[in-house]
Symmetry: C2
Subunit: 338 residues, 2 copies
DNA sequence: TTGTAAGCGTTATCAA
DNA sequence: TTGATAACGCTTACAA
């Protein structure tokens, strides 16, 4: 008369019954507590195996007050950035590292209109911490968020206040200076730049690095055009510069994507690189590598940046010490395009 | 003596107290049940606003037995595909659409070694449904998963059985045939192809489409080389083909990424496109657009694919009717490279 | 329409 | 080391 009902998802209680122990003991095994006798351990593991038991996350986090999940926040205006190799690899690094931990990654697109919705979600105790991959200056609101939740930024956030914003970044100023110096070393004397957006730290810093290099060489830093890091904006900036009749023999483009756009314009206008003009850029992605000629550039450890963000966040969540800023190393790759 | 403790996150119970109603009523408001009087509704909303209340997901899903979250599964071997514009945009479309719903997107990298871990997680009732973005034939295991969980695939899964695998895809055979026909229309008579991996539906189908077009024109279909959809593999395949001394005047490359690699090799070897050889490809991404010359290709609605996957999945979760297969339209973009 | 009360599947506290 | 038992914050019959 008694029929087994294999339908239901096994619960901790069922495991306890099969193993002949209490729920507490099963719970201890799951959370690998040391206070379990080998016999009990074995019995429980066998039961778990037999039943194909998987702990219920919701119940777990309700009781433990930890969600075991972290959010990856992507401002919407930046959402198309999946097409941006930089962000794509950072995300990849983060996702792969997370998958090696007990945490889960929740992708959050922060709607431009109501970033409020996102912040509520984050503050609502639905995640243990957040990774903010930000493009623009609207991260101010997220910096404030850091007061109520462990938060790690990808790239220095643009915030007025800012004593305690954890972030991982590269030394954009330094790197930009170095690669610009490469132009100077090749004898370039009229050096222009296509800078990134000035409401982003990377945009600002790379421009500053360019200025620094020129200042050190006593070269005027008046040839500046701006883009938004996308290929199209690079092409537009290049066009504008050429149409203005600006004369230059060296060019630093703040992102390889923009450089790829700029290179096309140069080619169409009949300029030869590096014969007529030396060109260097930032990011060693597909764009820099497949440009003709391939470009001298700055390589950043993007995957590592993602990994590092996650590991910093988890340490923060665990209440461990974490340095506020982690600078990742960059590397100049000389391909002779200067 | 009594001190207010503003620290704690507000609970539904606190909202009820402030609003002067029972918890049930608050719950009804949250889940916008129609059975609430305007007064009660107003009172509750005011209380929610005042307290800055955000429902606790864990508690909610524990009680309701729905997690309100869906998983986006990415096989690890495919993980680098963040660099692949196709996958990047599909993910983007999915993520943005999800953010407009009540659901949350959990990114799951399926470790190659133990896909078992991933499947357990999925079967463990931690998500209401799953999106599988798969590259290779290992999706068999995920097809089985569909028996215990709503699942939607991106692209036709490669499964032996396969009566009920929901998926959205484009007609790769048809599209490949059309774009190959474009070569034929330009008078090409010796047409080769760089095909995609043959353990993926897209790879198989595009090759078949190429064969179909040639058959219709009575052209032999013996000039085949294979790649894995990446730029490098495209270059390698092209090199191999040329080294073999194969003579051809037309080429269909199964992905724009591979085409970009192939084009470089052609250029280095001194071939001019389309003068010496006509080249057409698949995907209208950055690679196809910025190739020199820009390539005649097939455009797929990638963002829409992502969106559609999500909306299908949500309908499945809600127990609504969903067509097993959703085919998205493609478009031939003629740039004269044939 | 509203409230009461019984869970949902874990963890955590405290005895034993 | 183990086991009761009370939360955790919300949903959901069922009753009123």
């Amino acid at each position: 008369m008694t029929t087994s009902i294999p339908e239901a998802t096994p619960t901790l209680e069922m495991v306890a019954a099969v193993a002949g122990v209490s729920r507490s003991t099963v719970s201890r095994v799951i959370n690998d507590s040391p206070k379990v006798t080998p016999e009990a351990l074995a019995a429980v593991q066998a039961a778990i195996e037999k039943l194909g038991y998987v702990p219920n996350r919701a119940a777990r986090s309700l009781a433990s007050r930890r969600t075991q999940s972290i959010a990856l926040v992507i401002p919407e205006n930046t959402a198309k950035f999946f097409a941006d190799p930089y962000f794509a690899t950072v995300i990849q690094g983060a996702a792969m590292y997370v998958s090696s931990t007990e945490y889960t990654l929740t992708l959050l697109i922060a709607a431009e209109g109501d970033a409020e919705k996102t912040r509520r979600y984050l503050r609502g105790g639905n995640v243990d911490g957040a990774l903010i991959l930000s493009h623009h200056s609207d991260d101010l609101s997220y910096v404030a968020l850091a007061r109520s939740l462990p938060v790690v930024f990808g790239g220095r956030p643009m915030s007025q206040e800012g004593p305690t914003a954890y972030y991982v970044d590269v030394d954009n100023v330094h790197a930009a200076r170095d690669v610009t110096a490469n132009l100077i070393a090749h004898g370039r004397t009229r050096i222009a730049t296509i800078a990134g957006p000035q409401d982003m730290a990377a945009g600002l810093d790379r421009l500053e690095g360019w200025r620094l290099a020129l200042a050190e060489a006593g070269i005027p830093d008046d040839l500046v055009e701006y883009g938004d890091f996308s290929p199209d904006s690079g092409a537009a900036a290049m066009t504008k510069m050429l149409d203005r009749g600006i004369d230059f023999d060296g060019l630093f483009v703040a992102s390889a994507q923009m450089a790829s756009g700029a290179m096309q314009v140069l080619r169409e206008r009949g300029y030869s690189v590096p014969d007529d003009v030396g060109v260097v850029t930032f990011d060693n992605d597909y764009f820099a590598q497949t440009s003709r000629p391939a470009l001298t550039t700055i390589e950043q450890p993007t995957t590592e940046v993602g990994r590092t963000m996650v590991s910093m966040l988890i340490r923060l969540i665990d209440g461990l010490h974490v340095d506020t800023i982690t600078m990742m190393p960059t590397r100049l790759i000389d391909r002779g395009s200067a």
